[in-house]
């Protein structure tokens, strides 16, 4: 086990993938000489060469489209989109090509492309640098979408994403890049918990709290705070956003009878809606109260002085937990 930052854990996972498979190739803006604006690819170009770690011109659609061509040729491209808000120029290539080519070629052409996206807020950035666009992609068939919450998963899941023959969007919670954790670099990604499995990260009996990416830490903090008040929260780190591992969430809700889902992305049409609907369908008669969503608002990502109002924090999550438990909360007395 080694102590390392989240960013370093991804870097180490990328390094292993580059070592293990000569077909793995990294592409993106500023990822080579600079090592990425967050230094996630630091040192990789120096060690693997400019043909394996490629600084590209500034054109996101081209980064994605050439990755498609490289995949046609048998490569496994790992593409970095520098910031969440910069992914939209590549949206067409992702949705119409990356996601669909396996289907559109009757399985003849595989698209083992990993798309790394630093996402989410909380770092005081200007506009377009703090977004949570994951629901656009979870709604697109043909893609797998994952988000990691801790250095060990970051290290293992990036390797699993690269090993997958399907295209994977890998969302990295940028405000956690500098968090440190124990990482066992000896874990074999092929035998580790599969990337499409959720994980119970804190056991509890009163309410199920579902989170992913940057909010898993917040959710765990909320569970610890609630424990002081005698409330037992079970926290689930979703890890995979498409497909969602409903079996794990369902088992928990059957036990607790209450569900709270939290994410930074806006509420309407978001992943919380999907989780709430699916769990309601699957175990309606085990639910004691209506599922609760604690999310970002349906607004463009706000200016940084106000972002903490937009981002679900510990107190807002606990307010949602109170609502799920039928305890007094900020909306007490309000219908619907």
């Amino acid at each position: 086990m080694t102590q390392m930052t989240f960013a370093r854990a991804i870097n180490s996972g990328l390094r292993k993938s580059l070592e293990n498979d000569p077909k793995v190739i990294l592409m993106g803006e500023d990822i080579g000489t600079l090592g990425g604006v967050f230094r996630v690819t630091d040192g990789l170009q120096k060690d693997f060469g400019t043909h394996r770690v490629v600084d590209t011109p500034l054109a996101e659609s081209a980064i994605m489209g050439t990755a498609v061509g490289l995949a046609y040729r048998g490569y496994r491209p790992v593409v970095e989109i520098q910031f969440d808000g910069f992914i939209y120029p590549a949206f067409d290539q992702i949705v119409s090509q990356v996601a669909k080519l396996h289907y559109r070629t009757q399985g003849a052409v595989k698209m083992p492309i990993t798309i790394r996206v630093p996402f989410g807020g909380g770092i005081g950035s200007p506009e377009h640098h703090s977004e949570s666009p994951e629901a656009y992609f979870t709604h697109t068939s043909g893609l797998r979408v994952v988000s990691v919450s801790n250095p060990q998963d970051a290290h293992t899941v990036i390797q699993q994403a690269i090993l997958s023959d399907d295209p994977v969007l890998y969302f990295e919670p940028k405000r956690r890049y500098h968090d440190k954790g124990e990482v066992d670099e000896g874990i074999d990604p092929r035998t580790a918990l599969p990337m499409d499995s959720a994980r119970v990260v804190a056991e509890g009996t009163d309410v199920t709290l579902v989170a992913y990416g940057p909010l898993v830490k917040t959710a765990k903090d909320a569970a610890a705070a609630a424990a002081d008040e005698g409330i037992s929260i079970e926290v689930i780190d979703l890890r995979s956003l498409a497909p969602v591992d409903y079996a794990t969430v369902e088992a928990s809700v059957r036990k607790t009878g209450r569900l709270v889902v939290t994410h930074e992305a806006g509420q309407s049409g978001g992943l919380g809606a999907e989780v709430a609907a699916s769990i309601t369908e699957r175990c309606f008669y085990h639910l004691e109260t209506a599922p609760v969503r604690i999310t970002g608002f349906d607004i463009p990502y706000p200016y940084s002085k106000l972002e903490m109002h937009h981002l679900p924090g510990l107190d807002r999550i606990l307010d949602g937990v109170d609502r799920a438990l039928g305890r007094p909360n900020s909306l007490s007395g309000l219908e619907g």
């Binding site: 489209g65 050439t66 290539q93 090509q97």
Partner: protein, 369 residues
């Protein structure tokens, strides 16, 4: 367009073989036999196009994008390629597909709607048609970057139209191709029309000149002249194979038919323009050349006719004889690996179909229950 001094031409519309000091050397191996063979290709491809259009009119195909008038651009380039070159085309390059050896039935498959794909791209080194305008130029560029990494000397060739040159993807593809000096050939069939929009709406300068700004050498060629197209493509391929990077070819041709069988070009284009271009027909000029050379014997005529008719019969019977897909096929190949969301939907739909009891009910129309 044939008055344009920059336009590369080796056969005039009247069928006269004119010499060109720069491009003649690339045509040294094209003797009488090869010329007859190109004439056959051109004729067969036009026949395929006519048959497929008829199949659409008879309700056997949902849609067809005719290539009438563009045969030379497709044969000249398609026959210049090596087997290990890889083609990324738009939806109109069915003539190129023929040259690559795509099975005739497979050409119509996707237009009949019996499958999401006509063929296995790796079996003929040609991707299946791209409908998103210009998207494939990036795929070709990426593929070419892969060729470069592999140290191979094959070339990626991408086909697109004049309208596509306005798309961001095509421009970005040229940026990447130039930056990495990727072995890719950009083959633009300037057929003058993007559905109803004339080429002058796309560009104030000649399409070939757009490449110059990216630092990509370009050739402007008479797209209705099969030899000129072949020579230009050979030059471009040779440059790419020997580390010279990308080339842009503008093949100046004309879409004699509609954009697709769903289009009505009489709403937007002048009949006179059509007449002008009919006089520059790509097949008639080769025929005239063969006649001048005394090569168009009854035997050759008969052979070409028979070949075209047999191909037409094959495409018709193959198309009509294609089995309909099974309902559960819609779930296939979305993912390479099991996916719990889709597996559940598939399972539920299978149960729904099974609820009819009669397996035939599975394919019956909505409301038949």
């Amino acid at each position: 367009m044939s008055t344009d001094r920059n336009l590369i031409q080796l056969i005039t519309p009247a069928g006269e073989r004119i010499s060109h000091p720069e491009f003649d050397p690339w045509m040294k191996d094209i003797g009488d036999e090869q010329l007859c063979s190109l004439y056959e290709d051109l004729t067969v491809i036009r026949r395929i196009d006519v048959e497929a259009t008829a199949l659409q009119r008879q309700g056997e195909l949902g849609l067809w994008p005719p290539l009438l008038g563009q045969e030379a651009a497709q044969v000249g380039s398609g026959r210049a390629l090596r087997e290990d070159d890889f083609v990324f085309s738009s939806y109109r390059e069915n003539g190129v597909a023929y040259c690559r050896g795509v099975d005739l039935t497979d050409i119509t498959r996707v237009w009949r709607g019996t499958a999401s794909s006509g063929w296995d791209p790796y079996s003929v080194n040609m991707a299946t048609p791209q409908i998103i305008i210009g998207a494939q130029t990036l795929h070709a560029t990426g593929y070419a970057m892969g060729i470069q990494n592999d140290g191979a000397d094959s070339v990626a060739v991408t086909y697109f139209g004049d309208g596509a040159t306005s798309e961001g993807d095509v421009n970005e593809a040229m940026v990447f191709a130039a930056s990495f000096q990727a072995p890719v050939v950009f083959f633009c069939s300037n057929n003058h029309w993007a559905i109803s929009e004339p080429v002058r709406l796309q560009s104030h300068i000649q399409i070939a000149d757009r490449a110059t700004g990216f630092g990509i050498p370009s050739l402007r060629v008479d797209g209705n002249d099969v030899l000129a197209v072949m020579a230009a493509t050979r030059v471009a391929l040779d440059r790419a194979r020997h580390g010279g990077g990308p080339t842009f070819i503008e093949a100046v041709t004309y879409r004699m038919g509609p954009h697709t069988t769903a289009d009505d070009p009489t709403r937007y284009r002048d009949a006179n323009e059509l007449e002008d271009w009919a006089a520059k027909d790509p097949i008639l000029r080769v025929k005239a050349l063969l006649e001048r050379k005394g090569l168009l014997t009854d035997q050759v005529k008969q052979h070409v006719h028979d070949k075209a008719e047999s191909v037409a019969r094959e495409i018709r019977s193959g198309c009509i004889g294609m089995p309909d897909p099974e309902p559960m096929d819609i779930f296939k190949h979305v993912y390479s690996e099991p996916n719990s969301w889709l597996d559940r939907q598939q399972d539920h739909y299978a149960r729904y179909l099974a609820s009819f009891g009669d397996p035939a009910g599975a394919t019956s129309e909505e409301g038949a229950r």
